[in-house]
Symmetry: D2
Subunit: 486 residues, 4 copies
């Protein structure tokens, strides 16, 4: 069951580190952190290093293990005291190296390296305005827009952090940024706090690190300090760490709930809650909302496992390991399999027959997107002898687009877009189907004041929906260009 096939996609993971002592090898640290964040994006990745103000690095299309083979990793600067890293998921149309990050902005005021996780709702209008003023773009990512605004604001600002603050007045939507200037490392989180971003402290009080998730801090042996606050600008330089809060407390904190439900790694701590605990809680809520008579609870690996444990705890129905997932399947296989028959799904995911044979099964997963994968998994269970399959989803039905960095397919591809639960249940072939309610979703976290963006379920968004589509230079139809000058 390959993630690419049936899952939503997070769009990025970001990382930055500043070690004033020079004791940590920055390239190794960034490399380890990107391994820990790889689940947030598998299409491209990159690392930049800051050695006495000179920014160098490497990036490319592929996994961290592909883009950074030993000879490349070994060739990176070993004298750096700052590093940034980025992993990216790219929609198919824009899978070009120009979109890989960190973006490096060369400018006479000093090179900037920018890592971005999120999606700006006003990027199209900002980009158009920049273009009409003579700016050019190499790729299609929002990050270039941010690069322009930062650069232009810096021309008049007193400092790079002032430029960051000015830029935050211009951009709207979801963004976590790691910005590396010749002398500073800056972390920024948008005022709604859509995406996670946290602060860590290096051993020996030698410096600081920022990461999308705390698991990346663990990977480099840094100590988790706290989340960056929504709207906060955190600056690290040789004088230490400073916090700017002028953009804080202006908006409701509406984090993307899918960070808890699916995107983040179970061992990460986000806003005070271990991700796995939120998932177990989701499973418990599901059991309360949708109790069934069954013999066994199993989760779809890997992201349905924790909610299945929660369902089991609440319902008392035994939790079992029902599937084995082939861990040697890579992207090559998927390509190859296009020639292969439908039945090849078993190469990727197999049922442990003794667990489900003649049993009434509660099957737990985190979402249904198109429904085809769910239908296949339920079919596998029935072929293995399951008497009943009750399908429990640890989230409400997807019905609406996301404007904040999650790659949800077009609404008409969403099985839940214009169907009720009974219809979906019939389509995927389950005996019953239960979704988590919006009310319970809002209780997944324990933190005071933390609300969630649930726009993809309700169609109501914390930020105004974008008025215009991004002009997509990759599929620009010729007729759109009315200008004579083309």
């Amino acid at each position: 069951m390959n993630k690419e096939e049936y899952k939503l996609h997070e769009e990025c993971g970001v990382f930055g580190v500043y070690d004033r002592s020079g004791e940590t090898d920055m390239a190794s640290a960034a490399h380890a952190a990107l391994y820990a964040l790889q689940h947030r994006g598998q299409e491209s990745c990159g690392i930049t290093l800051n050695t006495d103000g000179v920014i160098t690095g490497h990036k490319g299309l592929g996994l961290v293990s592909e883009v950074f083979p030993p000879e490349v990793l070994g060739g990176l600067s070993s004298e750096a005291k700052m590093a940034c890293g980025h992993v990216r998921y790219a929609t198919s149309g824009s899978r070009i190296v120009e979109n890989a990050q960190p973006l490096v902005v060369r400018h006479c005021n000093g090179t900037l390296s920018i890592c971005h996780n999120g999606n700006l709702t006003n990027a199209p209008s900002l980009r158009r305005r920049l273009e009409l003023n003579g700016s050019i773009f190499h790729g299609s990512s929002d990050t270039e827009v941010i690069g322009y605004l930062l650069t232009q604001n810096r021309l008049t600002a007193n400092s790079i952090e002032d430029a960051v603050s000015m830029t935050m007045h211009q951009i709207e939507g979801a963004y976590c940024l790691i910005i590396m200037s010749p002398t500073k490392l800056i972390a920024v989180r948008d005022p709604h706090g859509f995406r996670p971003l946290c602060i860590g402290k290096l051993a020996g009080d030698n410096g600081y690190a920022f990461a999308s998730e705390s698991c990346a801090l663990d990977a480099i042996g840094a100590e988790f300090v706290r989340d960056v606050r929504p709207g906060e600008i955190v600056v690290v330089d040789r004088d230490g760490i400073r916090y700017r809060t002028e953009h804080c407390n202006q908006k409701k904190h509406t984090m993307c709930v899918f960070e808890y439900i699916y995107f983040a790694r179970p061992d990460s701590v986000i806003e005070g809650t271990v991700v796995q605990d939120a998932r177990i809680r989701a499973g418990k809520f599901l059991a309360k909302e949708h109790p069934v008579e069954a013999d066994v609870v199993i989760g779809v690996p890997d992201s349905g496992l924790a909610a299945a444990v929660g369902y089991s705890k609440e319902s008392g129905i035994p939790y079992e390991l029902g599937f084995i997932k082939n861990k040697y399947i890579g992207r090559t296989f998927i390509q190859g399999s296009q020639k292969q028959r439908e039945s090849s799904v078993r190469i990727k995911l197999n049922v442990i027959s003794s667990v489900v044979k003649d049993k009434r099964v509660v099957l737990v997963d985190d979402s249904i997107v198109r429904g085809t994968t769910s239908a296949r998994i339920i079919k596998l269970l029935r072929e293995a002898g399951a008497k009943e399959v009750h399908f429990m989803i640890s989230a409400p039905p997807f019905k609406h687009p996301c404007y904040f960095g999650t790659d949800i397919p077009d609404s008409d591809l969403l099985v839940a877009h214009d169907r009720d639960v009974n219809e979906i249940c019939r389509i995927i072939g389950a005996d019953s189907l239960g979704y988590l309610s919006i009310e319970h979703v809002k209780q997944l976290a324990v933190k005071e004041g933390l609300d969630f963006c649930v726009g993809c379920f309700t169609g109501e968004y914390p930020v105004a929906e974008p008025k215009e589509q991004m002009f997509d230079p990759y599929s620009q139809p010729l007729s759109l260009s009315g200008k004579k000058s083309i």
Copy 2:
């Protein structure tokens, strides 16, 4: 926690398929089966195809995904009606392409393709005898010895299966063989049945397949029929399937118990028992033998998970998901990490802190080899706040070498070799340590007449220990060669 680092190694997985209808693409089938068997060997792999008696194929060092990229897979014969496949684990000294399988034996009586899983105890003396009669060897594997014997016996035998039967009188130890001649596909299991081997039937009654584990049959959509019996020779050709039993029932069936405990995939069915069920049973026995007061049971992923579920079921202590394993770590990373610090273990395995913090933890794993990895995992748990760590091993202590195809390190590297449980417990830093008893090991399977080889625990082997070391041509010291002729 990479398998290479702290685990035992199975040495091989074998596969063969015969489709008289020509409907199945043999190369795709073998490819899918090798993906399913990849856990049995990751160092080299190969596929041979039989097209109207002509044997072609490809093999190399690396994973299936590396040795068979789409362009190679696409270039294999598409008209074949038979195929063999092999995955191999190789000890470091012999990681050469000459040892990759299937071995193809070119001979005027007809080319043979041979796949072998196991280890012959009398290979050194057989090889020496062959060499003294003028035979030459390209690699160091036992399989070349088998190739010679088969070929020499065939010179006088009435059929290739007679040659196989004659060869079985000469070789001793553990072997599962898949032999492809120009017209026949033959599966053989040694009279002790050390390693698993099973028979499957293709859809539409079009032919048969053999595989080390039933998960490979699932991967190609074949129906599991039964295990090959110890000593049995199964022959498939255009006339159908035939069974020769002259070597059956001569020895006690002493299967390697580690197939249940660690090597085989949980979804495979071996001798009537789903592997995962045997592991859950091991966990239950452990709970009976070593009851402790604790708050939570967690398993070391992936092979300790099922036994942890069993321990939980029997003890009533709740089962939790305590670790997250990084699934993007490949071999490249391991290489790279040699420069990195000890702490980098967290890149591969991280603890879910909320599960263990301030808890008394029962930690379940399948074995302790050197002890260093276990010590590191226990340390991770303590750093995450575990109050107590009780370490339960779903097997008895390793104390002795294996002569039947498992790569156990030299005895002096085994932490249990000359230490009692208390000493080991102290070395790895656990609060208590429990091993499964030999008595319970013998109850892991449910099949009548199935006994186990427990030589690595007891030093008592079902077959006489080899009298001489294999002459290792890769580290042949000059002084050993007393002969003038060198």
Copy 3:
């Protein structure tokens, strides 16, 4: 004798093609053309395709054969009617994918793809002015500057060709450009005509192609029409071909003479002269200027061969094949050889001993840069038994930098920078040394009105030398950035 080691470097080759019939596969044509132009740049390359106004493509670091393996080439658009291609030589500091071309400029007025060969003398000031107006740069090449100017001029121009014309008023120095807009293919050559650029006609009158050298037209089966005139703008679209000449005849045509002497392929025709003929002419002039008594004339392969033939013709001394060059040496070898001894020069170039043994040898090459390679070759000849070695160079001594696209090392590395001919002769170990005179250089071409830039020999340039150094963002020392904002 690897080119990388001792030779000057051309910086680029450009190509563009427009086939209104759609009969030619544009990707294959661009690919073939880049193979033909590969000698002009081996560090990166790229192809862009225009399919109904949508611009796609691929680029990367490496040779054409490396960046475009069959699977990549096969994946490019097959419906395109226009294509551009570029090969690039990059100085070590800027060997980053951001500098690979074609540059693709995404803009709401229409995407542009830009290929550039040359070097702007006022790029630093243009870039600084753009930066101070808020522009950002991804790489260090002049091409981004051109991209900005074209885009900004197009905002007010009536057409893209008007924008090109406006841009030509702003940029100074050497440039050959191929610009692909959604509907047009435009070729531009700077008013001095520093670098070559020619026009070809596709078979069947289906369209046109542009290329740095005519050998690329041969490679795609196009018919050579003529050179683009200095200052000319040539536009191809569905209405056919148009020529704009407002920038023509404003400057003296001062082509880089090294295009004849070394850079261009011998079979290319530039400004009416077959390149090889110019080289043979150079050899004849050399024989007139520097007659010697000798037994044999040999050329250093490959670029010294034609001049050696010319020397032989004029002098009557027999021409012989004196060297064999190993054609299997790739970049990998060069890397590896750093560990190897000095003597390993013979792996790359070996002397045919019978040709030179006991002979007085005239050795012809096109240039001496540092002198070390020349010294080694002369030593090889002496070791092979040459009695005398008279070294003839088919160009004057290099003494000054080039600002127009040739990568000449820093002056202090040039052996001729501050030495007279006798000193150089002693350093390289020749019996006599002759350089071609400036007067003869000027007679290499036969075309009326064609003059040459000989700045690297004389220090007198046809365009004012750049006033400021390009700000190099890759080695930007921290102290340079005085601004607080960093």
Copy 4:
């Protein structure tokens, strides 16, 4: 004009080195030597090293640069005092890694590494006899046969060199062997001396090297001593060098004349003649045999160049550089070009138009195989304006197969097989066609007592033609195997 397309193929190059001082890095030396011998085989290559009697190494399919990237080369033993290397050309059917050399024969009497250049005429019967005695073969090369014979003879011989001598009584045909035992390096040349093999001395009297051609000695800085004599066995060990001559002077020395005409590198010295001198001599003979009125002589690069120089010298018609060959064309391109049009020949080879336009051209090449390539080249010349094309071939017409290691296509594919010169001339479109006569072929070398094998021209061979075809296990039709045992 790619060699693979229209040329004959040499089958191998061999190399061996023994440095008792340990001063030379054996892996680097073998690597350099294989680069120098790469023209003799491009399909697979390998290196073995002997470190205190332990033989290790690496081999694979591909060029030296592909099989030995820096990380592989760097991983080879650095303590070795002996090394062997091999480059191989393989016919398509047998392009498998099992045929790559050096062959390593593992045996209790000591591992042997064997490199072989040539072809045994009695290999089929030897192999069949071995097989009927129970030997098995992994590949299809003669070298395994030699491995068996050496091993079996060594069982009773007093020394490995005695075993070599015994083996020479059994094998017939063409062979140059380099054999490395735990303590000795042995070079052997067949009694007819079909293929070249020479002896070199390391600097500082530290040891010896053997190579197919002297250019490999130059590459490692060794001094050429002399050719190995036909039938000679040369043994190097820590006591120095010894020569065994019991097989010398038994046969006429009939070297393959194509070593001079085409296979060997021009700078190599074989039997006292610099290869290029033999080619120039061939050109001179051609001019005497086939005088024409013409304006210019040009050679097809690279192998026709020297004969063209010779033709020019003898005839007085000026020699010119008429072609440019693209040096960036690799194997990938050839693959890709299968989709491309006929005209793409110009990507690989282009005419320098000014050399041939309105000229009567003498075109010199070393052979015509199928005639298609020759026809294409002549067409290129006519398109470039040549008035007449007189085609001169520096060898007689191929009419018969070679049994001694040259891969000549089946007779019915040879354009000269059953056609006279006029017919061939018409087919290839030349104005006249001249082949070198057998009488002049015999005068190409200057050495007393050196005769040539001219079997491919005359059908008369110095050794009896093989009585039976090699049983080819790769295309073994099923029906051939009458035995029940299959």
